[in-house]
Assembly symmetry: none
Amino acid sequence: METTIQASRRERRIAARKSTILYAAGRLFAEKGYHRTTTKDIAEAADVSEGTIYNYFISKDDLLFGIMTELTESGKLGEQLQSSYLEGPREFLLTILQQRYEFLQKNGDMLQAVLSEILVNPELRRRYYEELIIPSQELLEHHLRERIERGQIRLIDPSIAARILLAMLSGLFILQVVGDSVIRSEWETIAQLLTDILFEGVAPG
Amino acid sequence: METTIQASRRERRIAARKSTILYAAGRLFAEKGYHRTTTKDIAEAADVSEGTIYNYFISKDDLLFGIMTELTESGKLGEQLQSSYLEGPREFLLTILQQRYEFLQKNGDMLQAVLSEILVNPELRRRYYEELIIPSQELLEHHLRERIERGQIRLIDPSIAARILLAMLSGLFILQVVGDSVIRSEWETIAQLLTDILFEGVAPG
Amino acid sequence: METTIQASRRERRIAARKSTILYAAGRLFAEKGYHRTTTKDIAEAADVSEGTIYNYFISKDDLLFGIMTELTESGKLGEQLQSSYLEGPREFLLTILQQRYEFLQKNGDMLQAVLSEILVNPELRRRYYEELIIPSQELLEHHLRERIERGQIRLIDPSIAARILLAMLSGLFILQVVGDSVIRSEWETIAQLLTDILFEGVAPG
Amino acid sequence: METTIQASRRERRIAARKSTILYAAGRLFAEKGYHRTTTKDIAEAADVSEGTIYNYFISKDDLLFGIMTELTESGKLGEQLQSSYLEGPREFLLTILQQRYEFLQKNGDMLQAVLSEILVNPELRRRYYEELIIPSQELLEHHLRERIERGQIRLIDPSIAARILLAMLSGLFILQVVGDSVIRSEWETIAQLLTDILFEGVAPG
DNA sequence: GATGAATGAGGGTTCATTCAT
DNA sequence: AATGAATGAACCCTCATTCAT
């Protein structure tokens, strides 16, 4: 029994270490970029030796992919959205916006780090697209279609509309990363106005 | 006079060479990213020696800033927008979307390369924000305010609305870069639907 | 008594494990060379942990010396040669050649691996020379002197002649290792011709 | 004209540098082996920076191949042997032995360095065999066949005999490298006795 | 101004060895 | 005695930058 507990303690320590390294890397990548972060930096930030990194990841690239995976898993548009047709469509949109906001609060750094490389690394980009964008796109599209059928929103192309929505969310993130401080501080207002515009339009009267 | 002509000829030759190098660098940065492009690569692509690059740019980073400047200059939302209040607001939005599309057609690769670094290089980011984002934001905001005053669109916060519009444009670019092929192929449809939604909303009936 | 038996059982187990590790190392060294073989490779091949290797050998180098010793012990020109003066000298030479051939069949790989390091590691070289070359040289020299005294071969310097013989044997090994396939396939013919030449010479008539 | 001279001076300096690096590497490889020699060592020995090595050789391995090539070029059994049928066969053998001796005096270190790796690096081994062993073997074989036809030596299989000769030469080298000091100091005596034995045999009377 | 050989700091990665369990 | 995670020095190699020509 003693042994079992010890073993599991060890196992837990090991699992934790992998995670520690990954988060240290993520933080640094976001801070100064993948290429300007050295394995030495990561080792120091994670408080392990450089060699240890390679007991958990096969290469520096592998860390990036690891971060990718982490994002993928926690970054999907919540499945709960699927069973939320009972909410009105406005509430639905506000919920999505809120979810995104919280996700970015938590994973913004990592997303920023990965996004930088995605723009420039085809393999990473492919994975990002297939594992994050496509599922999100499909989820939204499906949801919109349903809402349209139920007459909760008017007849528009759900595939295009889903893209517009996703672009909106991505764009707000980019703008914020690039330096716009209003987006974060006025998120509530933005979410309200955005919902308002999308549902009512800006046409006068 | 002879001297003057020679000098100006020389100046032109020098300017041309500088440009050649910058474009070669831009092409390569877009292709494989800033960090994966070596000065040797650039020298070969521009058909000069590595040393020569340093006669025109003080560092590799300086090339990036040079590209930034190039983008800044051609990337501003056209000044003609300022004097286009006569157009209806829908036409105005469609014009912007069209302009953006054309700009991205031409400079998308470079923007992609620079954006990757922007996400991760504070100094570059600051310049990008100040030289491109803020002016665009202000232009749009000003324009919206004017339209609102003229009663062409209903009363909304022009500062937030401008951000939403910019986010929209940025987001569509990102989505396309990341792999969505529909955005390019269906640009017309997207522009139409987007305009439609923004003006009329998606609320049924 | 119980204890004694256990101890000896234990000793045997320990000796066996030491041997397992040594052979695993030998096999790998022969396959890809000393420096390209990692302690991890050896541990896997011997089905022990890396740490365990260090319970039996003080360092990776020590494994090489261990293999050296193994070779030294099984590689000596058979002692039986010493009491074989009754055979004719031709038979004697053929016997030596046959012995060498068999030895190389069995230990060629290890010899190859060790030889590679011998050429380049002074300490190993010294041991090889003192433990293998000198004894062989002396054995042969002594044997030749005896034969000469008995009038079975003509009067030649036995020290030099022994060296020539040893060089011959070493050279055939090297040539074979380096890629000559004939040496192995035609060993019988070579042994015959070599004996023939050494005893009768190649002068015509 | 000035320019031409300068250019050629530079070219000469460059060619010399490549050679300097190669010889420094060769010396060190022979001294402590390929794997124990670092590129830093080589740089220091050649009095250049580490980076400079890579302006002339694509990798550390490439240095080894460069040494190989050097040996190949200077290591071939002299072509003059081909037109030396007028000499008696004994003189011919002595000439070969003398040539080998001189070659090893000059290139022994490099040969030793390369040989160590050859034993353990298949690609290097293949090249060594094809570029050095086979040509030597064929040259000797051809020569022996000619001598046999002219009745200068008796009827023996020239292919096998050539191998025996080559083994002899290789073996003497190995023995010397491994620590036998007599071979070098008594080379004359050895050459004489070897010739004597090969032509007259050791059979008594 | 143009060249490209030379530089050397610094990069990612490996691996023999140690030691807590 | 056995384990294997942790270590960190050392490795080979790259590349932005310099400078003599």
